[in-house]
């Protein structure tokens, strides 16, 4: 019997140890319970600042902010009796109301979720004073963009909610945050967004706010985003978009002295206000689905074309720099270039010796094939020759990324020796094997912005500044050490440029663009017809004006436009006139460009392509049957 008390002592000690052990486990060992406690109790409220505004180069407001309100709900707190009244106020059906509420409930009964997205300013103003009557509903202010002009959609871009995947890798963003998705909104996202403020509130188990957490000591104030001054001239942009209506292609206009992009037109485009607010997703899907027109695709930055004849100017400059030719080097065109079994056609219509200036202004293929061959063959091997050529071509900003402040771009392609070594085998090729490069065809592809940039380099007589889209942040110009401010020298000495520029002047005076010339404004340019294996050739034109002290350099591409002087040259000319004088006094030309409609052409091309595809499939079927 006397050992019975021992049982009790053991029992007490054992239980005591078990408890202390468990307490140790819960309180000292485990960390997650402390975190759970924190989550229970502190609610983070984000305060969104105003997003930075965007102006054009003359201070016109392009993008402003407008408020919209999301209606949030905490299902646990609502009074069921209110639903009919509130549905009426929100202008939705009772069934819709129920559906939304169900969705919120499924997410969480105690946590707030979005009941109705982006109620417009006006609508909200009407219902705001009644909202407080409805337990469990509260508004959350949102900042949306307001685009002042229905232009420059591709330049400015748009904003949308950050995706889950993005949020996971970027601690700065939280679900529901808006982020730039394209254009300046995207490439300057960090500058425009400012800093979100945070308010920490204590909440009880029913999610009711009980006060500020630790007296607000962890709260932070929001910082508004910085305003941007873009390099775009909105008047010129508007004009360019008008000239390009009902056509496909692009216009890229640059101020040569600074590299500032005056205008970046892609056609077809869209009204940027379509991608704002509640309808944004729907409109985006529609625009995205238009795979023929591709309005969301910025052709000026992304479309790659073989440049065609405009590239001849570059070849001329490289040939001069290499000493392979002088301005007086002449060749006679016999309806093209012929070498052995190789024939390159030419439609310059001349049969007398052409010097450099005439060769450019008449755009003679034979001339350029010959000088290209001379350029390459001035080196002991084709490899060395082509590499030297490639290097100088690339120094005009071609065949590589421009590394500017635009969110997207393509590299283009300027081949060098290694490319052809792989294709033909080492020492398996010569200058004539790659002769299409002479006339801007073959493997060579450029983007329109690259073409505009090289034009600017020519206008500057041998250097350029990286084309960029923003010139000031919060009124302050770009810093001196900003890489966009770096002067980039081409590998062609400035002494070689005047003769080429004179030739480009002649293009307007007597050459292929003479129908686009202006009687008092001197202009320089070069027409081009880029071969298009899938349909009609593209109409290309590069130009700058005035020849002395150039203010604007541009490239125009009109897809399937037959030949350069038909569409691209007149458009380029009108753009330059508009920019230099502020108005246009060639109403008939202007009218013809504005009214120019290539849609039937595009439709015909499409049908032809479908027809070809159908024939191919039939042939395949026949061959397998047989």
């Amino acid at each position: 019997m006397s050992q019975r008390p021992l049982f009790f002592r053991v029992l007490f000690l054992a239980l005591g140890l078990i408890f202390i052990g468990r307490l140790f486990y819960l309180q000292v060992y485990r960390d997650d319970l402390k975190l759970s406690a924190r989550n229970n109790v502190v609610r983070q409220e984000r305060i969104y600042p105003g997003r930075g505004l965007i102006y054009d180069r003359d201070g016109q407001l392009l993008v402003g902010n407008q408020s919209a309100y999301d209606l949030m709900v905490i299902p646990h707190q609502i009074e069921p009796a209110d639903s009919a009244d509130l549905a009426r106020l929100l202008r939705i059906s009772h069934a819709d109301f129920k559906r939304r509420l169900e969705k919120a409930r499924r997410y969480s009964s105690l946590k707030p979720s979005v009941f109705m997205r982006q109620i417009s300013d006006d609508h909200f103003a009407q219902i705001r004073e009644y909202l407080h009557r409805f337990e469990g509903f509260f508004p959350q202010k949102r900042i949306l963009r307001e685009y002042q002009y229905p232009h420059a959609a591709n330049v400015l871009g748009f904003i949308g909610e950050a995706s889950d995947r993005f949020i996971r890798t970027n601690a700065h963003y939280h679900p529901g945050d808006l982020i730039g998705k394209s254009g300046i909104e995207k490439s300057y996202e960090e500058v425009l967004r400012g800093k979100t403020g945070v308010r920490y509130k204590m909440v009880d188990v029913h999610n009711r706010v009980k006060g500020a957490f630790k007296g607000g000591v962890y709260d932070t104030l929001p910082r508004p985003g910085s305003d941007l001054t873009s390099t775009i001239d909105i008047e010129l942009q508007r004009y360019g978009e008008a000239l390009m209506q009902n056509k496909r292609g692009s216009i890229v206009a640059i101020e040569p002295a600074t590299g500032e992009i005056l205008s970046l037109v892609t056609a077809p485009s869209y009204d940027p206000n379509l991608l704002v607010g509640r309808e944004r997703s729907k409109h985006y899907s529609e625009l995205y689905a238009d795979s023929l027109n591709k309005p969301l695709y910025d052709r000026g930055l992304l479309a790659q074309y073989p440049p065609g004849s405009p590239f001849k100017v570059i070849n001329a400059l490289v040939a001069l720099e290499e000493g392979a030719i002088t301005p007086r080097t002449s060749h006679v065109c016999h309806h093209g270039f012929h070498w052995g079994r190789l024939h390159v056609a030419c439609h310059c219509g001349t049969n007398y010796p052409l010097d450099l200036i005439k060769g450019i202004s008449k755009s003679c293929n034979n001339y350029f094939c010959r000088i290209f061959k001379s350029t390459i063959e001035s080196y002991p091997t084709a490899q060395e020759g082509l590499n030297a050529w490639s290097e100088k071509v690339k120094s005009f900003g071609l065949g590589q990324f421009l590394n500017n402040d635009l969110p997207t771009g393509r590299r283009g392609f300027v081949p060098s020796a290694s490319y052809f070594d792989k294709a033909f085998g080492y020492k398996g090729w010569k200058a004539v094997s790659v002769i299409s490069l002479a006339i801007g065809q073959g493997e060579l592809v450029l983007t329109p912005i690259q073409m505009a940039n090289m034009t600017a380099a020519i206008a500057n007589r041998g250097f350029y500044y990286t084309p960029h889209i923003v010139k000031e942040i919060d009124g302050a110009p770009l810093a001196a050490d900003n890489p966009l401010q770096e002067k980039k020298e081409t590998l062609v000495d400035s002494s070689h440029f005047p003769v080429v520029i004179k030739a480009m002047r002649k293009v307007f005076e007597t050459g292929t663009a003479r129908w686009s010339a202006h009687d008092s404004i001197p202009m320089c340019g070069k027409t081009g017809t880029a071969q298009n294996p899938h349909g009609q050739d593209h109409s290309i034109f590069i130009a700058f004006a005035p020849p002395e002290n150039p203010q604007i350099a541009l490239s125009v591409v009109v897809e399937n436009g037959y030949w350069g002087s038909r569409w691209a040259a007149p458009i380029a000319s009108l753009m330059m006139e508009k920019y230099l004088t502020g108005e246009v006094d060639r109403p008939r030309l202007e009218k013809r460009m504005l009214e120019g409609d290539l849609r039937e052409q595009y439709q015909a091309d499409l049908e032809a392509r479908l027809e070809r595809a159908r024939k191919r499939r039939e042939k395949q079927k026949d061959s397998t049957d047989a």
Binding site: R4, P5, R9, L15, I20, L26, N40
Partner: protein, 419 residues
Amino acid sequence: MRNYGNVFRELDYTTLLLWVLIMFLGWLNIYSAVFDPEYASILDMNQRYGKQLLWILTALGIMFLILLIDSSVFYTLAYPIYGLSLLSLVLVLFLGAEISGARSWFVIGGFSLQPSEFAKAATALALARFLSGYQRDLRRFSHQLMALGLAFLPALLIVPQPDLGSVLVYTAFILVLYREGLPSLYLVIGFALILVFVLSLLVPLPYLYGGLGFLTILLLVLGRRQRGNGWKVLGVMVLCGLTVQSVDFTFNNLLEDRHRNRINILLGKAEDPQGIGYNTHQSMIAIGSGGLKGKGYMEGTQTKYDFVPEQSTDFIFCTVGEEWGFLGTSALVLLYLVLFFRLMIVAERQRSSFARAYGYGVLCILFLHFGINIAMTIGLAPVIGIPLPFFSYGGSSLWGFTLLLAIFLRLDAGRTLSL
């Protein structure tokens, strides 16, 4: 009237001190748990801390009064008091107010009285008297039956309220009986049945029967030397088998949904931190978030913002955990252990078996409350609503425990005199 000087000289002040200390600490924590800045006055009778202060003061009064009563009174009145408590338990089923789905309280004026709290003390007295009877021998089956009947009759009356927590506390008396001579076999059976009970909820039945069968064979082989062992083993195993079956039946058919759910959640078979397992989950969060040193007095966020339900009563331990951390909780656990060891010493030094049996009654009741309450808050037991003695808010429970303890202290103070 005896010499009161004697009483106060022989009184066990250690226990008294521990009692006051625990009450005071309990009050501090209640203050923090229920604190409302608008009603900061400690004397505000509308707030629980104000009321608890009143209960504590009155409890001191009760203690004093009981100490004045002659100790033989308790012996004499043991059975009548017991009878009265049985009556009150029956009456409350008809006259009691329905609170939280149970009829456990009499409501008189602004105050409520819970008869099951006082019935514990009455049962301890009656049982002690029974056990101290001449020629009482718990090795005799008839006496075993009577003792168990005496101990569990009140429990039976509490079942219909329903208040399963209080019912559970009556198992404490088995421990008392064990101290007073109940054969250990009962304890072994008791533990075995509990084990089997829990296992039958966790382990699929076929495995369980297989295990029992194997164990039976093993024990028969081991115990074949001693005659009669075989029957004992078979008897126990049959009992286990029956238990397994009845558990299954009870669990699915007799227990209510909420009990099932609570048990399932405890066993890890179900998960719902926002549902019925919510209490335990929140409680563990509150306690766990205290860390080593706690967040400081009055600084518990889980407490302040009502994340733990029944904070001032059943889950008062959470406040300790959150605000005083591991140091605080283990200190409190140790404090109770000191109380229990002290009570054991006092009980063992009694010359009369009545006083000793009663003492163990007090000890075991307090111990069981302590064990279940704390285990529940730290997730080792399902949520069973019983208070932490002297610590939780509640007039009836505080008076009930105080009464329980006071009688024992009085009996102890008179131990040097013959009864």
